[in-house]
Amino acid sequence: MTSATTAHSVVEPSATTRRFAGSLVVLYAVITMIPLVWIMLTAFKSPDDAISYPPKVLFKPSLEGFCNLFTTRSRQTPEFIRSLGPPQGMCDDIARSRNMVVAGPSNYVPRFVNSLIIAFGSTVLAVALGTLSAYGFSRFRVPLKDDLLFFILSTRMMPPIAVAIPIYLMYRTIGLSDTRLGMILLYTSVNVSLAVWLLKGFIDEIPREYEEAAMIDGYTRFQAFVKVVLPQATTGIAATAIFCLIFAWNEYAFAVLLTSGNAQTAPPFIPIIIGEGGQDWPAVAAGTTLFLVPIVVFTVLLRKHLLRGITFGAVRK
């Protein structure tokens, strides 16, 4: 870094201050990571290790949580199990050691797929609509521009439960309840406000001169938008898309109130994974881990743009 050249500035903190600040921040980061790491560890524990006291940090890794996450099992008598052939695969083997046999796949995969479809569908729509509107707001004189922008933002601020009541009735009337399309439209409407605000910020930063030069070269305004502005805005569009994706991926309130099976996403499903005698914690932890890993990756990808995202594009640095 540039510390060597600026070390003598009065504003630069001394080495001791730096080390002190650094150690406090690292301490906070470590503490804040403990719950997350714990969940990921629990995913690889056997049910007995997961509920042992004192909590076990060292344990023999087991994939039982993942097996229980992906399968449903039924309890059988030892005689019946012995009468079956050799176990089919690792999960069947684990199940048999607990006097059970694998009965079939669980609902986790369909719920996960729903999450994927709904998140990607709504993201594509929201970013497409958002890019057009953002360009419109950024470049043209629109009557009542500030009011429209505020209106767009305020729709995102609505309490989800308050929105869910009429949406529930509306979807019931037009047959969109518990459909992926219904959820995609709903998430699009929530995400489009963020997309417009964020993308307007990104497009505002592209100099108008680029398009004007292109138009002098014979491009229409529309062609200039497609061939000059869009390529320039790629980073912004990608960042916005990831924000929309994360929101739709994480959303719970609408999902739990408006879907019951068909279109249910993973967040309402994970908490209701139940084993024999209460929650099957390794399975829940395994489901959580798989669900969170994409977010961790995205956060790392997005780290430079997080600030913009959480302030609707207002704070850019």
Binding site: S9, V11, P13, R18, R19, A21, G22, V25, Y28, A29, M33, I34, P35, I39, I51, P55, G136, F137, F140, V142, I152, S154, T155, M157, P159, P160, I161, A162, I165, P166, I167, Y168, L169, M170, R172, L186, V192, R208, E212, G218, R221, F222, I246, N250, Y252, A253, V256, I270, P271, A285, T288, F291, L292, I295, T299, R303, I310, T311, A314, K317
Partner: protein, 319 residues
């Protein structure tokens, strides 16, 4: 100005190019194009946000129940509003919300600003550690709420174990989620864990927006570090802090997912924040008219705060 000159250039160009699809698009004035670009978004929001909102306002004046759609709807006027606004139980739910909002915002602001102040010292590797600290706020509140129920288990939970380890009490002697006095704090802890990074990130932007020369001038005037903090750092970062406080306030005022999974409003109604009361009325008792009125009350509050938020946003933007 730019739009005017651009559009005149477009018409000028349009004369010279052979007729085609492109020509027809070229023929569109900027004004038409602007509306073409903006209308789809507005239409979607009208259909999925504004129309339902108007419907909710209508329902809030009626006795409609979603599970008995065949019962004739009667116009009740402002009866529901009156009964909600004089109901001590709803008032109690608002106070539960207040406890949650105030404590989370206070803790998150103090911790978040503190962290931002430390990170602003630019120690080695601050980029990586900042990213690590930011992780919790990107996660799904519902999934977070759910896995914290595991950490809060009295017999087996890590949280209880750690507290027991440092205080010497038995880990099973207290239940974070089952105890009337502890559960309101249980939700505050989880929210603070999750959203402190949010406040930290905005405060960090505030601190970084303060130009060095101000500190240099203060240094020349021999102002103490303490003095500099109170008369430069804090006032100049204040608009950013306000922005974070307002946004966290609004978000936590309507908090649903995390609390619903952690406590579901219990034990009793000690953690029943406004959104949970609303959900119980709307989707468990199916008192649609009543809950619509409550929804409108919450909505107007959020909308009012959103006005202030956008004002704060513009203030920060002009920096």
């Amino acid at each position: 100005m730019n739009e005017l000159s651009a559009s005149s250039r477009i018409t000028y160009r349009a004369v010279m190019v052979r007729p085609s699809v492109a020509h027809r698009i070229r023929g569109l004035s900027d004004r038409t194009l602007a509306w073409l670009f903006i209308t789809p978004t507005i239409v979607l929001l009208l259909a999925i946000n504004i129309f339902p909102l108007l419907w909710t306002i209508y329902l809030s004046f009626t006795n409609y129940r979603a599970n008995r759609a065949n019962v004739p709807t009667i116009w009740l006027g402002a009866d529901w509003y009156q009964s909600i606004l004089t109901d001590p139980d709803i008032w109690a739910a608002m106070q539960v919300t207040a406890h949650f909002v105030i404590w989370t915002v206070v803790i998150e602001t103090v911790l978040g600003f503190g962290l931002a102040y430390l990170i602003d010292k630019k120690f080695r590797g601050h980029g990586i550690w900042t990213t690590i600290i930011l992780l919790p706020m990107m996660l799904s509140p519902a999934v977070v709420g759910n896995f914290w129920t595991f950490l809060y288990q009295p017999q087996i939970g890590l949280f209880n174990y750690v507290v027991a380890f440092f205080t010497g009490r038995a880990a099973s002697s207290f239940q974070m989620l089952g105890d009337v006095t502890l559960s309101p704090w249980a939700i505050v802890i989880v929210d603070a864990w999750m959203w402190t990074p949010y406040v930290m990130l905005i405060c960090l932007a505030g601190l970084r927006s303060i130009p060095d020369y101000i500190y240099e001038a203060a240094e020349v005037d021999r102002a103490s570090k303490w003095r500099q903090f109170w008369s430069i750092t804090l006032p100049m970062a204040l608009p950013f802090i306000m922005l974070a406080v307002l946004f966290r306030g609004i978000e936590n005022f309507k908090m649903f997912d995390m609390v619903n999974l952690l406590t579901g409003g219990g034990p009793g109604s000690t953690t029943e924040v406004a959104s949970i009361t609303l959900k119980r009325a709307a989707f468990e008792s199916w008192r649609t008219g009543y809950s619509s009125a409550f929804a409108i009350i919450l909505f107007v509050t959020v909308f009012g705060l959103a006005n202030i938020y956008v004002k704060a946003l513009n203030k920060v933007k002009s920096r």
